[in-house]
């Protein structure tokens, strides 16, 4: 049993229990999602997402800008990410830009994006997103 006691890492991320919203794969949202909790997207979102933590699950997709503290991407994103901590899983497909402070990219992730690093304070002042300079 003592072997399982090194479960500290999951605990650290669980400690702030956020209100979790969940959009199943049958869901389509056309508009803005705004929450100070967590949102898990298995369906399709066209628009902006503001959240403390966003999960785009495998099969899920977002077309638009994502602003979060933690972004965890397994699905598709066409747009921009503004997140302090970004995790791109191997099934992720990203097109656009990934503004981050720390980033993890799994082998196999398909990324067609610029990934600019930004200092932490950059993410605190994101009321107005920068213009796209495509």
């Amino acid at each position: 049993m003592s072997t399982f006691s090194f479960r500290t890492r999951p605990k650290a991320s669980e400690e702030k229990s956020l209100a979790i919203s969940h959009l199943s794969k049958a869901v389509t949202v056309n508009g803005v999602l705004d929450t100070d909790g967590e949102v898990r997207i298995h369906g399709h979102v066209q628009g902006r997402v503001n959240a403390e933590r966003i999960v785009i699950a495998a099969g899920g997709s977002v077309e638009g800008d994502v602003v979060a503290t933690d972004a965890f991407i397994e699905g598709r994103l066409n747009g921009r990410i503004f997140a302090l901590n970004v995790t791109l899983e191997s099934s992720a497909e990203i097109t656009g830009r990934v503004f981050h402070n720390t980033i993890t990219v799994a082998r196999g992730a398909r990324i067609d994006a610029r990934m600019p690093w930004r200092p932490p304070n950059y993410f605190e002042t994101l009321d107005q997103l920068p213009e796209t300079r495509e």
Binding site: F4, R7, S13, N30, G31, T35, G43
Partner: protein, 172 residues
């Protein structure tokens, strides 16, 4: 006597052996293949289908559509379309709620169009309710018309015609 019977039984199957067998089966049970990366992954995968939940903290500005069930505890500024839609206590929808079955315990400012409508005691409905079957609990607030016309203007249900209460509401 019963006490003796109980003690006898384990003795027959040789108690220490079973105890030994059980402990190892119990121990490996908490196998957690989780410490791969983050707990989110497994949690997110496990709930890829089923009810969608708009939590209390979430506000959606725009349209929300699903071919499955939706539960709203937060706020939606726009239309909602689902199969079974539940607007929870404290939730707010500004727009039209379409569905097969709609249960309202929160606030809707707009319209409800559903085959089956339930307005609970905490419901606050401002606008019309188009329904085929409605239940209103004591305490519900309704400011609008109730029209038993669901599916009437709809071509598909006209052809599939179930007996409709033709203009029942007017004599009322």
């Amino acid at each position: 006597m019963t006490m003796f019977n109980r003690t006898d039984k384990p003795a027959d199957t040789s108690a220490p052996d079973t105890a030994r067998v059980q402990t190892p089966t119990l121990a490996p049970e908490p196998v957690r293949p989780q410490p791969v990366s983050q707990p989110v992954t497994s949690a997110a995968r496990s709930s890829s289908t089923g009810v969608s939940l708009i939590s209390r903290a979430l506000k959606i500005t725009g349209q929300l559509e699903s071919t499955e069930d939706i539960r709203i505890d937060g706020e939606v500024d726009g239309d909602v379309r689902g199969v079974s839609v539940t607007v929870g206590n404290g939730a707010k929808v500004k727009g039209t709620v379409y569905g097969d079955a709609v249960e309202l315990a929160g606030t809707v400012d707009g319209k409800i169009e559903a085959k089956k409508v339930v307005l609970t005691g905490t419901a606050r409905m401002t606008g019309d309710v188009v329904h085929q079957d409605i239940k209103i609990e004591s305490g519900a607030y309704i400011d609008g018309h109730l029209k038993p016309e669901f599916g009437k203007s709809d071509g598909r249900s006209k052809t599939a015609s179930t007996p409709k209460p033709v203009e029942v509401k007017q004599p009322v």
